[in-house]
Symmetry: C6
Subunit: 267 residues, 6 copies
């Protein structure tokens, strides 16, 4: 029996939610552009809609954006800001090696748990990973997909209010399998794509001297197609810092250029 299995066989090793949230948010927010602020503001409205007794209280928001753009960070931030009593992160990281069935059960359990509390927030991180999606084939777990479609379509029990925050780096796939229509709203998380935005992040990391930063800006301004996700940018800065004094700026600029070209080709 399915319910039995759910109770007894699978005890998802979800870390304590708070700890997990802290890890996701470690390092502190960098507001590298207006998009960041807007997303967080809209996040506030969604939280309020969930709470508002005049509303249906079942709000499902998707954060969609390319790889490494800080989607998970922003989802966690919104959840944190909501101050809801029950917050749960449902992430593929905790399900390596789970069978399709076990994933469905875990998902169902997260929703069931949420409905025990009057006001809850669920983060479903990296939704295409949860679906084991791979573009070659293509392959994905139809079982998990169907479970999600149903769970996101099922009205909560009376007096239960739920905010679902999901992230994905493959909106296109979600549209094709009709998952997009199961969300009441979608927000797009962009890459950085101006020298100004990049320099904001570089400055915040305090990794370079003034002269290096001046130098860097000069170099970057020559390239018109710079684009990079916040997560990747922070890693490139880490790498470049290891270079020898006169070489560091060069390393960062080259990496950024190479990466931007690569992204440009992919699109």
């Amino acid at each position: 029996d399915f319910d039995y299995a759910l109770e007894n066989d699978v005890k998802p090793a979800f870390g304590l939610a708070e700890e997990q949230m802290d890890r996701l948010l470690s390092g502190g927010l960098i507001c590298w552009g207006s998009h960041v602020t807007e997303i967080l503001e809209k996040g506030d409205l969604f939280a309020r809609e969930t709470v508002n007794p005049d509303c249906r209280g079942f709000v499902r928001v998707l954060l969609a954006g390319a790889r490494n753009t800080g989607k998970t960070f922003l989802a966690a931030k919104i959840a944190k800001n909501s101050d809801f009593p029950f917050i749960k992160v449902c992430s593929p990281e905790d399900m390596v090696g789970y069978s399709e069935n076990a994933k469905c059960m875990a998902l169902r359990k997260v929703f069931d748990d949420a409905y025990r509390s009057p006001l809850s927030c669920i983060i479903i991180d990296n939704i295409e990973r949860l679906l084991d999606y791979s573009p070659i084939g293509p392959r994905y777990s139809n079982l998990v997909l169907q479970a999600l479609l149903v769970l996101l379509g099922k009205i909560p029990p009376e007096n239960r209010r739920l905010l679902v925050l999901a992230t994905t780096s493959n909106e296109h796939f979600l549209r094709e399998v009709d998952l997009l229509n199961s969300f009441s709203n979608t927000m797009h998380v962009p890459r950085l794509n101006s020298v100004e935005q990049i320099m904001t992040v570089v400055d915040e990391t305090s990794s370079f001297t003034d002269s290096e930063r001046h130098h860097l800006r000069m170099k970057l301004q020559k390239n018109e197609k710079l684009t990079v996700g916040i997560k990747r940018l922070l890693e490139l800065v880490d790498f470049a810092k290891q270079g020898q004094e006169n070489y560091r700026v060069q390393l960062l600029a080259d990496s950024l250029e190479e990466l931007s070209m690569d992204i440009d080709i992919q699109n």
Copy 2:
């Protein structure tokens, strides 16, 4: 043995029908256009045909329409209006994690149960979800499909009368797998697609002041391609209500415009 399994292993956790019906119909009907009335009227005729001793008494109706258009609501309304002694909702919501086989058994059981009563109505909600349909692949449960094809094609036992109301948001798929031909009739549930219709709903929700509504109508009239399902519209109104005073109309109008463009592209 199949029959044994049916009796013993699988006891679908269908909620009490009445409760379920009430939940589906919560909020009360909004007659946003003539389509709504026509569908309900035809629904009456189907109920009468089922009862009429001069007729064969096996009526199978499909409500087809895009996502979020209120199909489930209308099916429930027709069933309620019929006042049949036995009403059962067969919904994917109650089958998360079921195997294909278990779904077949559950379906068969619903029909068997119905045939215990002389006059019954079955709602088969979201038929493509029951079939685990996903357009990528494409994938679906052929087992469940074949079961449905046979169950919808099999004459009821003597003196048994049955009205089947099914809903789908993928009529195209049902046509391709030849399920359409198993229904004796199809009714189409449309999206709202005029400012008038949208304002009817907005007015009914009493969420905006008169001046806001005037403002909103002005804004909407500039867009010629507005289209939105009733369910989604009610959600957008909920969201917009959270905005600050001078911002609420803007939020709703923007959401509607974005959504309409999105739908336009998909088609």
Copy 3:
């Protein structure tokens, strides 16, 4: 062991043949056109060929036609007319939820049973359903297909004579999988496609007043592409009868027109 399983594990719940035949033939024959007569006459010749000691005594006939054209009815009629001592209906209706293997066994059992009697008739109804055929994929049970190909190709034991009557609504598929060549003859069951034929059926059902019938004929004559299967026509008549007095003819004419257009598009 296969034979063991056949004897012990699977006892197909085939209804008593006679009862089943009566249900299939309930309502009585309507001769809506010359095709009906011809098919029944040829059916007689096939029965005679099966009996005739100068012939090989293994006759396999396919009734092919669109959905809802009365194929099953005609097959049952021919079988009944043959007056053979052993008649068995092998229908997907009795196999909901069977595994492919169980279907093969059931099929084999039907043939084995038939060969216990010197003179037998088997109706294999809805052959593409037995094969779990669905055009999307496409999918079908190759196991059942191969079993059928072999069973229809295997000479009966000495002094055994067998008439096989099969029905299908997908001749094209049967041709592609080379099943057509396993039948010694194919008969085509058409839809009704003249006002005359439709009116013959309407008249037989005694559902409309003379004035309504006159009215109906006028209306139908305006449409040149009317086409409908007998089974669907009888259902539409049932539906139309529920309408209010001045509305009934309209309802039937509209339904017929809509349906005909739909069929026209599909082809």
Copy 4:
């Protein structure tokens, strides 16, 4: 262990070879054209090559031709004429419901048994059926295919001589899966395609009066594309015989014409 299973689990219910051969050859040979004679003569040479101590003694012959052309009959005739002490028919008819694995084992057993005798002949009937081939997909048992490829490629043990006679109605498929190259020779079995050939068969069956035969010849000569397999022709004659006196010739001519057109379209 495979060998164990082979000995203990699967005891293919092959009928006694002689009985089976008689059934396949019942009715007696009709020499409707030179092709028949040539095939039988070449068959003699193959038998001699198998026996001849100066030759390798492993001869593998394929009889390829359309459905219903008498392939199985001719293979059985050649085997009978060879007068080899060990003759075995390996036919899909005896394997309905076998798993792929069981088929492989059965095949291997037939070869192993043959190698117990110094001089053997194996008939592998309907090779594409043994492979569960269906063009839609396409589907077939790769396991059985690989087993056949290896068994037909493996040199017999010392002092063992084997003649393999296989039949197929899908030479194209066998070529594609590289089975053709595993045979040392291929013979083609044609359909009848002249009035003369057809009349030879009709005459042999003594089913029509002289006047009917004259009449028939006249009718057939008007059609230039007549083509029919011997097996189907004999069945059509059986059917036509049931017609009323003045109708029999018509029935046969019409059937032949229809069939020929159908074949023509398929090619």
Copy 5:
């Protein structure tokens, strides 16, 4: 546990290597052209490279050529000539009915066994058969493929030297799955394609009189596209020998012509 299974469950029934080698080489070498000599000479160099302490001692050679060209014969010849203390033939013939897993284990065992001896030679015969390759689908055992890719890529233990000789009739497939790059060298085994080469073989078999041979040469010289594998040629000679005196040359010439045309079309 995998290793356990390898030790206990599967004991591949490999014949004694020597016996097997003799059977593969029965009949004696016919040097029908310079290709044969070159291949054998290069084979010598590979054996020496394997032995040479200045070399890495892991030599992997592929013999690629069409069906029936004598690949297995040549691989066996090279192995025999090498005089290595450990020679093992790994052939699909010994694995009929093995599961993919059992094949992988058997392969691994062959390599493990080889590494017990300081100097070994493994023949992997008919590599695409080992992979259960069939072009329709296409199908093949990815499990076996991956095992081969890894085994051919793994450096032998210290002081172990190994020569791998593999044969294939589908080089194209091996290239596509990147197996070609796992061999350190490839040699191509051609068909015979001149009258001179064919006559050399015919002469060696001493099957025809001088006058017949003269006659044959005349006949063959008229055809410009003659091409045949040595194995098939020897079989055709066997067949032709059965013909009556004045017919034998004709039979051989016709068979060769037919075959050559067939090959020509396939390419």
Copy 6:
């Protein structure tokens, strides 16, 4: 339970890391071009980044290049140079015959083990082999892919630092399945493609006399498209050494030319 299985059922037979590293590095580095030096230098920076307390300490580098270009060698060299206390090689060689699941568990265990040490380096060799990738189909283990995607995306526990060095000969495939984006950096390992580079290697092996080397250089200079991986080149040298005195240069030159042409065609 998954964790349980991980602890108890699967004990990957990873050799002692040091031994394994020595075997991978046996023979000593040949610096045949500037690419080799650059890759090793960048490798140093990555090691430093991993250690640096100001950095995130989770560095994932991919070495991508054609077959036989020395990728594994370079990855091992970088790991060795890093002098990290924990180094583990995760290679398909140790997983022949593992199920997909066992591979996932092994992978997870490698990461778990690494996280027990504060500073670790993992080599994931031949990543497409770990994924059982084959281009025909295409086929690959989606289970392993998803595990890798998650493991490479999951932030290490606090105070744990990890350098991942992966190799692949199919960067294109990794890009398509979005694995590329999981690495913080990619380095490309090229083939040799100038006479100078080839001669550097030939000289280092001391296999040819001065005159032979002069001769060789002359021969090679005539060919403009020479290209060969270091691993393959060393094997060809081994082979050529076996030739007779005046033949050795010819053998090497011919092999190189043939190989280069083959590579040229493939691209």
